[in-house]
Every structure is written in structure tokens, then in C-alpha cells.
Amino acid sequence: MGKQLTEMLKGTLEGLVLAILSGRPAYGYEITAWLRDQGFSDIAEGTVYALLVRVERRGLVDVEKVPSEKGPPRKVYSLNAQGRAYLEEFWTTWSFLAERLERLREGGK
């Protein structure tokens, strides 16, 4: 993953993770694995965890502790109503940004 992608991901990872959670509840390890699978190969497990702590503290997700065969219980995150509203806002912002950038690209030709 290039440096540029890493930089751009900083502002969008939150929306990305909330979008994943809007499909179905998931735990941290699953989310990281999915992201890696999708080509974000350098994403750090810790970075995803830090983000999950953040969205939990801001009340955008609900957390359920599910027992695991090995080790401590897993925290399973699911998007709640507040999180859905936040995700809607993220998509609006994203569309605005993408549209403006696309306009610049076309103008630059």
C-alpha cells in the first residue's frame, strides 16, 4: 500500500469501518482481515482497534462481549441509530469531496 493511500485512509477509515458494520456486526480481527483482503494490506490491527475504541466512546456503535474458546471474550461491534446517522453524513461529505475532485480532474485535461 502506497504512502498516499495511507494518508488518504486516515480521513476515511472511520467511514469505511462504519460502512462495514452497517452490513453486519463484527469484531476487530474480522474487520482488519476484511480490509486487508480488500487491498488495504498494510493496515495495522492496532489502528483499527484505536478507531473502534473511538467510535465506541462517541456512542456510534453498540458493543457485545461474546465468549471465545481461547482468550478473553471478543468485543462484537454493531452500528446503532446514532452510528447510522453519522454514516449518512459521512457519505454526503464523501460525495461532495469526490464530485469536486472529479470536476478538477476533468478541468485539468
Partner: protein
Amino acid sequence: MATGSNEPKSRYLQYLEMVTGSLEDKRRYRQYKARIKQLPEDYRTAVEAMERYLMHFGPADGAGAMAMYEDLADLFERSAADGTPIRDIFGEDPVEFVEAFMANYPIGQYRARERNRFTSAISRAAGEDTARDDRTDR
């Protein structure tokens, strides 16, 4: 994130904690240390390195700091159980991770003081505010 009882503290305990700092925080910190001790050696080494960084730049004490250490222990216990390689937890740039992690908790006193001082210095320079405000309790 339950943190003990909500009963009012006895007067004795109030005075005692003025001298010793919060006993509840101390208990939580000891508990965190005990959890870290149980980790496999490489994970423990990594957590201790991170702890050193957090001690310098993160919140030094209080409930916010304790929540931070507990979240840290949660992460590493889970990672050890999953066998997640240390590099996969920290990524190519460990500083980036530790900064993102730290940003979830109250900022350290030193940083808070300098941020406030800087913000109010700019306000004064911009002619917006004449009151001095160098306090840390923002």
C-alpha cells in the same frame, strides 16, 4: 466501563486521597500491571514500550488514563490469544498507531497546558481576547 460504586466517599477517604491520589485509580493500575505480566514475553515487551511513550505524552493519571491502560490490556490479551504478530498490531509506523490510540483519551497535562497557552497567545495577538487563560482544566 463500570468504575466502582457511586456512593459518596467518606470524609476520611476524601482527605486520604488528597494525600495519596485516587485509591480506585491505583487499584485499577495495579490490576492492569497484573494483566500485562501474564502476557507472553514479546507482547509484554511491546506493551511496556508503549506504556513508556504514553507516560510521557498521554494522560498521566485519573480515570481517563486508567481506561486507556485497560483498553491497552484488552487489545494485547486478545492479540496474544489470536496469535497476531507484533508487527501486524503496530504496523510499519508504530508512532502512528500510538498517537491514534492516545487521541481517544484526555490529553496529558503538559500538552494541555501548552495548547491552552498557545491558543490564548494567538487570541491575544489577534486582538480578540485580553484575559489571560493558561489553565489546564479545559
